[in-house]
């Protein structure tokens, strides 16, 4: 294999970007944030529902634990690591260092993408690890479904990073791509999901956040129905008015295959567009 083959250069790009990520405040900050959140959620769950959880299976514990914050965590971390994959070059003078090397931009991108995926997985794994430790504390064992869950996490993170990298290719500034990605993934998609799915009654299969829910739904036995229709209104005068206009609320749950399909679609479509943006981007200064 030639020393400057695309594969070698991909590995080099990955290695140095990963080293760089591990030393950033972003990595350390998100790592600590995740650790604090996961310990906090665990303490609350164990404090409030100890007897119920103790009586149930480990699967039930994981559903409760992951349902709380895991999708939000994945999209936030994915946005932080994917939101500047391209703009790290175009938004700083790094382009004059990296893009003048004899390496395809697509190869540089894929190396960085992989580094972002591995770095973000390390952080999300902390969340799972705290859950695993709690499971051992409660039941003395952990459900093997956790491995499927971790597999889905990798896909979900990859999709979130791909989605965010698209914005890192659109915006020149480093922080713009991160901010827009966080806003869309953390606030935008949930709002759209509510209007389209919960109120509109249309399956929000287009939504990345929705597809990512399979990460914790696989711990629910039996697996929830794809569509549940319930009466609208939660009580109170305001709700009564709303109920008069909206007769029913809908709860959609993606099937595992649907979720995986949507996540893969995000990875491929957003990734390809991001690479195209990167390869065509000119460094105007």
């Amino acid at each position: 294999m030639e020393n400057d083959s695309d594969f070698n250069q991909y590995m080099i790009s990955f290695k140095y970007q990963f080293k760089s990520y591990l030393r950033t405040k972003r990595f350390l900050g998100l790592f600590l944030f995740t650790l604090i959140i996961s310990v906090g959620i665990t303490a609350l769950i164990l404090h409030d529902e100890y007897s119920m959880l103790k009586a149930g299976p480990p699967l039930f514990y994981f559903y409760n634990y992951l349902e709380n914050f895991s999708t939000d965590l994945v999209v936030i971390i994915g946005a932080f690591f994917g939101g500047d994959i391209i703009s790290t070059d175009t938004g700083t003078n790094a382009a004059y260092y990296t893009l003048v090397q004899p390496v395809r931009r697509s190869v540089l991108f894929l190396g960085r993408y992989t580094a972002a995926l591995v770095s973000s997985f390390v952080i999300v794994f902390v969340y799972f690890l705290v859950g695993i430790i709690s499971s051992f504390y409660l039941y003395g064992k952990v459900t093997p479904v956790i491995f499927e869950g971790l597999g889905i996490v990798v896909l979900f993170l990859a999709a979130a990073i791909s989605f965010a990298s698209l914005f890192s290719g659109i915006f020149k500034g480093q922080s713009s791509g991160i901010i827009v990605s966080v806003l869309l993934l953390f606030i935008g998609f949930p709002i759209i999901d509510t209007f389209v799915g919960t109120i509109g009654g249309v399956d929000p299969l287009f939504s990345l956040d929705f597809a990512g829910e399979i990460m914790y739904l696989i711990f629910d036995k039996p697996y929830p129905a794809a569509k549940v229709v319930g009466p609208a209104g939660f009580g109170g005068p305001g709700a009564a008015v709303a109920a008069a206009k909206v007769s029913s609320f809908y709860t959609f749950s993606p099937t595992v295959m649907q979720g995986i399909g949507v996540l893969i679609a995000y990875i491929v479509i957003c990734g390809v567009i991001a690479i195209l943006l990167y390869t065509r981007r000119q460094i105007e200064g």
Binding site: N93, A94, L99, V100, P102
Partner: protein, 321 residues
């Protein structure tokens, strides 16, 4: 336009080295603004070419097109005969470049930044380590374990310069490499360019005319995106020589001395303290005659051309456009 090869070309075909930079009718437009307008030049073989022009002339745009950071609107840029915009990986393999002020990953150390480039360029570990050692001393690099983000501009510039040279490329492209550096750092760069040009083709833009005249064999003038003049430095300097000499006397120039100096050459241009500037025809023989005459009038400490010839050329070529 391949007729602009500099005359002091030393073809390297005998050692299998290919060094050629070729711009063929390159234009670059930003909306209606023409940053480069039909730029053509061709240089091959080792030597140093200075690329001169005022701010906004199109120097950096040229170098960015040359390194695939910008795509030309029309025309082609070739490095070693390879179209850099169509085959960038192949074209850049034997080319080291430092455009603007590069900022490597701030969290990598100096050594890691050099290793990153060396590994991307397929340099084996042993060669890489020996070159890092060599540049550490020759370029007076900061401690190799210090992070790039913590370095001063000068330190970072030297570290990036080391990364440019680590693969021993045959073509070196530099964009105002000494801009913003202190005299000590400038000297390091100047000495390196003088050394590099013996075996490599060095193409660099600069504002510092003394630096260009000291290091370059050829010079290209650009303004408003157009090449205005190119050729060997001596020939251009000759063409635009200043036609004045500066004489520094041992004692201040008084009125009686000025009266006597008026009879020499084409008369006195100005006086300042112990110095008098005398106009002449521009012929070398007249310049020698003036020296002989002034020595007879009063003790002379120094005798030199008034202003740099390259400076005159710069002002004449770029000032009138």
């Amino acid at each position: 336009m391949r007729g602009n090869c500099h005359t002091a070309v030393y073809q390297e075909a005998d050692r299998g080295v290919n060094m050629e930079i070729s711009f063929n009718k390159v234009s670059k437009n930003y909306s209606k603004f023409k940053a480069l307008d039909d730029v053509s030049f061709n240089y091959s073989g080792h030597g140093a070419i200075g690329y001169l022009g005022p701010n906004g002339a199109g120097k950096t745009t040229t170098l960015k097109v040359m390194t695939n950071l910008l795509h030309p609107t029309s025309g082609t840029a070739e490095l070693n005969g390879i179209d850099v915009n169509r085959h960038p990986k192949k074209a850049m393999l034997n080319v080291g470049s430092m455009i603007e002020t590069p900022t490597p990953y701030p969290f990598l150390t100096v050594k890691e930044s050099l290793q990153f480039v060396a590994e991307l360029r397929g340099i084996d570990k042993k060669t890489m380590e020996s070159r890092i050692d060599e540049f550490y001393y020759a370029l007076k690099l900061p401690p190799l374990k210090s992070r790039m983000g913590q370095l001063s501009k000068g330190q970072r510039q030297r570290a990036v310069f080391a990364s440019v040279l680590i693969s021993d490329p045959d073509i070196v492209i530099l964009d105002e490499p000494t801009s913003g550096l202190d005299p000590f750092e400038r000297k390091i760069f100047r000495d390196f360019i003088l050394k590099l040009k013996k075996t490599k083709l060095v193409f660099f833009s600069s504002h510092i005319l003394s630096e260009v005249s000291e290091t370059c064999d050829d010079v290209v003038f650009i303004n408003h995106g157009k090449i205005l003049k190119q050729g060997k430095i001596e020939e251009i300097s000759q063409e635009f020589n200043t036609s004045a000499v500066s004489v520094e006397f041992l004692k201040p120039v008084d009125e009686s001395l000025v009266k006597q100096l008026e009879t020499i050459g084409s008369g006195v241009l100005k006086t300042d303290g112990r110095t008098a500037v005398i106009k002449f025809s521009g012929k070398e023989s007249d310049r020698a005659e003036i020296l002989q005459d002034v020595i007879k009038l009063a003790p002379v400490i120094s005798y030199s051309s008034y202003g740099s010839d390259l400076e005159s050329a710069y002002i004449s070529i770029l000032g009138e456009k």
